[in-house]
């Protein structure tokens, strides 16, 4: 049983179709204005769209004949600024979501949710007396109070500091283990999505670019737009020269031959776009003459090295390739060990399995 969405709208522009797996955390990731929040609001029934079909299992929330009101949907919603009622205490806020229960049950259930969200002892405080993290927890307690089947979180960690955010990640994971609800998390932070979500939908201009298990989407973008969204700057053009075996493809990148895994493109023309993650670019060690580190060796010159704490970003110019500016990311200690300095001539290896062939940008779903 999954949550199926097929949404279309003019302002904000949306043309989104996806299937969100039940009982998992799915992140909607995209830049500002890409329509993530609109999708979440449409799910909550807060935004009426030109065309919408939303179903949870066999239950229709939205279609051309039906529009389930927000209060009738089995959802919990944590908006970006939590939307806590400022005139109510923390306990009052949670109890406000329990009007369907008798007054006596309401109190006990609210206390239980407060305990689940780890805000015991703050029941009598008003939102103004709570820190950002505490407010977020109270909002979460309120959102889970009605035992929702779908929990919607709209950038819930954007207004708290880094250390609080890290703690809240852990608590959200624990809470999800306990509730087993379907969680839809809107974020523009890829690290957040990687840490919290098992599934990921990449969105741009209101359209689904790619969807699938988080690890797969983050490492294997389906198209150039997805690669750009994932902050993968290593996108290049190569010529397809043939397919020597069933799954191996021979490419030519400038004068350099590259072996990649995949099939010859269906469309005409031998040129195709490919990408490699900066973390998958490896130095070829001169003292180690065998193994996968020598796969697809490419000569390059180090142009720039920037150390960002424990990680260093190195830009290399691949020899004899005009647009061959390759970025690699590696631990700072490795930069020091290999004495990577601007002007040094090096050889880097691109493993065939790490070369990602990019499509034209049609949505690809493997959820």
């Amino acid at each position: 049983m999954s949550l199926k969405l097929d949404l279309s709208h003019d302002g904000p522009p949306l043309d989104f179709c996806a299937e969100i797996p039940e009982g998992r955390v799915t992140a909607l990731v995209g830049p500002s204005g890409s329509g993530k929040t609109s999708i979440l609001r449409a799910l909550a029934g807060l935004l009426r769209l030109k065309r919408a079909r939303i179903t949870l299992g066999g239950e229709v929330w939205d279609d051309s004949h039906t529009h389930l009101r927000t209060r009738e949907r089995p959802i919990g919603f944590v908006p970006q600024h939590y939307g806590l009622f400022p005139h109510m205490t923390a306990l009052g806020n949670v109890e406000a979501a329990l009007t369907h229960l008798a007054a006596t049950e309401r109190h006990a259930r609210a206390r239980h949710c407060i305990a689940l969200a780890h805000v015991e002892g703050l029941e009598t405080r008003h939102p103004r007396e709570l820190s950002g993290g505490q407010r977020q927890r109270v909002a979460l307690a309120r959102a889970i109070a009605r035992e929702p089947r779908v929990l919607l979180l709209d950038e819930p960690f954007s207004a708290v500091d880094r250390s609080t955010r890290k703690r809240l990640y852990l608590e959200l994971r624990r809470l999800h283990e306990h509730l087993q609800a379907t969680v839809v998390l809107v974020t523009h932070d890829l690290d957040e999505a990687a840490q919290l979500a098992s599934h990921l939908c990449l969105i741009r201009h209101g359209r689904l670019l790619q969807a699938g298990p988080t690890a797969e989407v983050l490492t294997r973008p389906c198209c150039e737009q997805a690669a750009r969204l994932l902050d993968i700057s290593n996108v290049f053009e190569a010529q397809a020269e043939g397919a020597p075996s069933g799954r191996t493809l021979l490419l030519r990148w400038g004068p350099h031959p590259l072996r990649a895994l995949g099939h010859l493109p269906d469309r005409p023309g031998p040129a195709l776009r490919w990408a490699v993650l900066p973390t998958n670019v490896q130095f070829a060690r001169k003292d180690k003459l065998w193994g996968s580190h020598l796969e697809n060796p490419v000569p390059a010159v180090v142009e720039e090295v920037i150390e960002l704490g424990a990680e260093a970003v190195v830009w290399l110019q691949v020899q004899d390739v005009a647009d061959g500016r390759l970025q690699m990311r590696l631990p700072t200690r490795a930069v020091r060990r290999y004495t990577v300095v601007p002007g040094a001539e090096v050889t880097v290896c691109l493993r065939a399995a790490d070369i990602v062939l990019l499509g034209q940008g049609d949505a690809e779903t493997t959820l």
Binding site: T70, F85, A96, R128, R146
Partner: protein, 224 residues
């Protein structure tokens, strides 16, 4: 001191408030939460009593309530007397000329409630009336309090419209403002002075107390 006029003014202010407040809350909530094309025209129409001379408003009301108008004839057939120059007519006029004083503060208060809070109420499963009672009205309370005080104080002191629509019938339409005018015309400066002072003190105390209360409420509500 004309105690009959003072009592009549207080009664008029109270009845006006009781009639106007629910209407003002409904109108203000509608204007604050509903975007629509002709909204500035509706808001302009409701704000007209602020800019129109009281005599203009009074003139139109007198014509509308008179025996030659459908409203006036209908009321006369129903009640046995004309709507103009009666306490009921005075209440109708008072409600109309107080609309901006009641609607505007409440509308601003409703507008101050973030859409996120309204949506959170829906997501909490609250019906429209539950959300209004439990969330919106408590949050708009400072605005409602301001509106009530402004309406009450303004009705106590209104002169032009009351004179046009109600005339000067003791115990029926002669309010304290008209009584002060009357006493001044008949050179009874002692009575006029004491009533003017009483009106000023009541108005000042009511407004100052309400400002203080609103300020305290706002401070309590403000998020850290």
């Amino acid at each position: 001191m004309d105690w009959t006029a003072i009592a009549l003014s207080a009664e008029l202010a109270l009845v006006t408030l009781l009639v106007l407040l629910p209407l003002a809350i409904a109108t203000a909530r509608w204007l604050a939460a509903t975007p629509f094309k002709g909204k500035p025209w509706i808001e302009g129409l409701l704000a007209l009593p602020l800019v129109l001379p009281p005599t203009v408003l009074g003139y139109y009301l007198l014509v509308a309530m008179g025996g030659h108008s459908p409203l006036g004839r209908w009321f006369e057939a129903l009640a046995g007397h004309t709507l103009a120059f009666s306490f009921t007519g005075l209440v109708v006029a008072s409600v109309l000329f107080n609309i901006p004083f009641a609607v505007q503060p409440i509308q601003r208060a409703f507008e101050g409630i973030s859409p996120e809070i309204r949506e959170a109420a829906q997501c909490c499963g609250l019906t429209f009336w539950q959300a209004l009672r439990k969330v919106e009205l408590p949050l708009a309370w400072p605005g409602i309090l301001s509106a009530s005080v402004m309406t009450f104080a303004h009705t106590l002191g209104e002169f032009g419209v009351v004179l046009m629509v109600g005339g000067n019938i003791p115990g029926e339409t002669k309010t304290v403002a008209i009584s002060i005018y009357d006493k001044t015309q008949s050179f009874d400066h002692a009575s006029a002075g004491s009533m003017a002072l009483l009106l000023m003190v009541i108005s000042l105390v009511t407004i100052a107390v309400s400002y203080g209360l609103v300020d305290r409420l706002m401070k309590k509500r403000r998020l850290a």
